[in-house]
Symmetry: D2
Subunit: 336 residues, 4 copies
């Protein structure tokens, strides 16, 4: 039984990690910590968990935490993780960080997040936790930077064709539609029900901090710097991201061939489902699962790949547990 | 042209008042004030209003306001209105207060709102702005206490039978379902989209501050103190309250007769629509209107009256303008 | 490995049964049947299931079905089950029927469902599948009549006080708020998104076919005929029922004592969670789970019990599997 | 007082036309017709209208209709209008057709709608009712083809730059997000609440019948054939379309200059609001209005124009009344 801690247990992502771990047969949650006014059983904060786990969620205390668990999920805000992760790493603990702190290189991070990075040492050792690209490195990783929700959906939608070298890399547009839990569990008028319901809006066009992360993943596979256009939208659903990815082919390829490329690329992947040619995914097909469903439409030289994920699962907690399973030699889908 | 001011212009209620007044042919909005970080055209705050009104929303300043308008809508939080209203009243201005500050008597107010009342003088002169009961008094009023949203829906559902003396007054239960704008425009995790969507909950059972107001209205008509059970629920819609009102008849009366009593009671009312016997209202039938729709079901001695209003209109801004129209001798439905 | 069949696999309830059984370690789904235009893998109908189960959903054929499985879930419409169930029962198969066909006695059934009952023999042998009341009988049952969604939520909210003999049985009101999946997976304008969204309505007041079922369960415990008032409402959520149950105490009992009665009644129940005194449940606390959460408020002689269930799980598929687990000696919560 | 008829009065579009006309000071509704099971007051079908209009909705009968009104709105399905319109036109009546029957040329129509066109005569005389392009022609028109909802939003978003000749016309992508009323008022499982809520999906990629209409409008201004990529999505809101329009500039132009082009293009338009540079529109800013709000973001050579309309108003009924106002010399915004 691996002893596992969740630091930052009171956000939506924390809740989902706990739900998954509570039914995971190879691990035991031994530590829950978060910035709370008073310490209380986690089931007081998330009544969903009552009867499943009754651990008390404690205030943050790295020292107490590190003796009690072997692997830690950091479900912390950006800029906080990089102060906490080194404390666990130097004790030989494994860390899966769900913030953005270890995803980019230092320059990009400082440019997009507007703060100085405090842990240049570990950022170089961190493995980007997209199993479909980096499973072998994740197996050996001590520190996994769990991908952002938008980058997971967008990258999985684009990668097969990028890898196949069939795309004019200057033409990639990601038009993403995200549910409200993507913004986290917080009080803000713009996130209130009365503002989000019966509404849709684009925001942070090409200025969203997930843009460089998508470009990094795609550029890594393309083996050259890639510029993308990224337009996120907030839609009135709780969970999920549908990404419509537009790409121009640089030569003539048929629709069936394109679909075959996706199927081949993901054939062995346990959590990516490629739709049959002519079919398109819907968000509800993946909600409450760790799957990414992808449908592809080819029209002339334009490829439109539509990918759907549950932002809290494949886009966060589910992928984090998938990474833990890979790091620890468990069945990759255990708990998921 | 009556010059009108809106104090507290940046809440949902303020927005609706402005929308109605902007199309009202007998008035001109001359003052908008609210607690804002910086003064800006109201259409910056509510883009819906762009092209319709371009007045600047100023910071609160009673002195400046009172020279510029003849009638004021106070869309202010409870406990704030009672400091502002007297300033306008002593200058001979008319005031329609949408807070709770002038609805109850001083004792009830202090008990339910937990603060000392500061304007005992005017509270006695205030007229409770339910036109269906108090139209004649409203005509002559200087200060109208605009009813709460729950009390409007619940009272209109119960009053005909209470007035007819057919009800066992100890049996009244109001089970109300309200949309999220009822809580106002504010940042709170419990009001965030991710918490309210795909959810429903009861709250403040029999402890909601609108309970004494409902009891006051019904008790006033019954001419005796009335105890009610009031259970509000938050449902995932933006606008509207559906109130299911349970009452026991104290004698045998047929369903058709009961329906007739409602029809007679509201025959001349421009904004109450009684459904035909056997029909029930739905929230969408009244959204974006100032109507209250009522359907009645009789089963044995139990009467179930279902009333629907748009909480921002008949439950707030619409009724406030209806009251202004009555106070000023305009057509009662002008602008509505 | 128990071989299990699902007859009527293409409704929302069928989908949920399949999802649960697919992760159940003691059973194997061997038969799926439904009225479909053409036979296809179930994952074509419910893309959620892709990669989890790839069984073909066949057209209805009792003969073929009965050789392939030992226990059958009938997720069929009312009036259809009673023609199908006897075929399986006479072969010694176990049947869990999710329709209403075996819940009431013949007279009540014919009165409320408007058709002649065709299987008077088995209706007498059927056990009503509410484990909290009838676990011992369910253990030995060949035919379980799985409770309706409204009756499950309403009964669990009322039973502890009814059993304790503290209630004036003439005062029970159930004001229930249900999500749209409760109406099943079908095409009807009144169920279309544009009609249900941003709306709420009461329907079939005291004329809903679940009323006699609630009265039967409560009356069975009270050991006398009970009349209730039942007012269902349709609210814009997908899953779940919140039932607000009003009951008058027939003597003075304190709130803490009342809460204690609920806690005692459900102490050993794996799927009922009684909230602490002063706390109320929300629908989201039970969605996607088999739990029923109950909170109780006492005010004077009035008790208001608020119960929440997921209508597709504790209100249908989850409870059906719970019943299977009890009938077959599996761990009661396996798969749930 | 112009006498007006609405043929096809029982869809969402019909309802909105009636609501607008009921408050329009220059017209009187004299005829309502639709395919109904039995003739009934329109307020029975749309309870919103009770107390505002009590006209009976009759079964379709062109002969009876044409004597009673001077102008007709045809809110009929595609392929039906072209049989009805000629009957009114030959009597000298004015017709505003909200179907697609008179929008395209015969070839395109037959290709995309899959039926033979029956009224080649009038299709040539019809004026496409986009006031921002064709106001002068609309003034003199006898038959106006009211634009589709997607084409209205998409075209208004793209036209200023197309007109300015700054766009590489081969790069236009329209990624549109529409509410469910866009599909009309009908019973279909894919439109049921349980399927649309908490969901989003792309559909008919580049195969939607509004694609050639968008291409026609843009191509008409560009004065050359234009190919576009059109990807519609269904999102869980009732009303509105947000269109994200991607276009490549063919030379270097600054963001401020681009915004200026939009402002100049729409300066005199009563129902188009261009946001300030750096601001983006939200659906809620235009719901229940006839406005189209447009925000523009320039990033490198890519322009992203985001336009929002209420699909039932600027996308259908509102624009139809705007066209009537232009045709009849009324104030263009009367009733709107």
């Amino acid at each position: 039984m691996l002893r596992v801690g969740v630091i930052g247990a009171t956000g939506y992502t924390g809740e989902e990690i706990i739900k998954i771990l509570a039914r995971h047969k190879d691990v035991k949650i031994t530590v829950l910590q978060a910035v709370v006014e008073s310490e209380a059983p986690i089931s007081k904060i998330f009544p969903q968990l009552a009867g499943k786990i009754d651990l008390v969620c404690k205030k943050p205390d790295v020292k107490k935490a590190k003796d009690s668990a072997d692997l830690f999920f950091l479900a912390l805000p950006h800029t906080v993780s990089m102060s906490v992760a080194p404390e666990f790493l130097k004790e030989g603990k494994k860390v899966i960080d769900l913030s953005a702190d270890y995803r980019l290189d230092v320059n990009e991070y400082e440019k997009w997040y507007g703060v100085k990075h405090k842990d240049a040492l570990n950022i170089k050792k961190a493995v980007y936790g997209l199993p479909e690209l980096f499973r072998d490195k994740i197996k050996k990783a001590k520190l996994v930077a769990n991908p952002g929700c938008y980058p997971t959906g967008a990258s999985l939608g684009a990668l097969p064709l990028v890898k196949a070298g069939l795309i004019d890399l200057s033409t990639i547009i990601v038009d993403a539609k995200s549910g409200a839990t993507g913004a986290g569990r917080k009080a803000h008028i713009s996130l209130s029900f009365s503002e989000v319901n019966e509404n849709v809006k684009a925001y942070k066009i090409n200025e969203h901090q997930h843009k460089p992360e998508i470009a990094m993943v795609i550029g890594g596979v393309a083996k050259e710097a890639v510029n993308i256009v990224f337009v996120p939208h907030l839609i009135p659903v709780n969970r999920g991201i549908l990404s419509t990815v537009y790409m121009d082919l640089d030569r003539d390829v048929g629709a069936l061939k394109i679909n075959q490329i996706y199927e081949d690329f993901y054939r062995k992947e346990p959590f990516v489902r490629v739709m049959e040619e002519g079919e398109l995914p819907a968000l509800r097909d993946v909600q409450h699962t760790n799957f990414c469903n992808i449908g592809i439409k080819v029209t002339g030289k334009k490829v439109i790949a539509v990918s759907c994920i549950d932002n809290l699962l494949k886009g966060a907690a589910g992928q984090a547990v998938q990474n833990m399973n890979i790091m620890c030699g468990f069945t990759e889908g255990e708990g998921l």
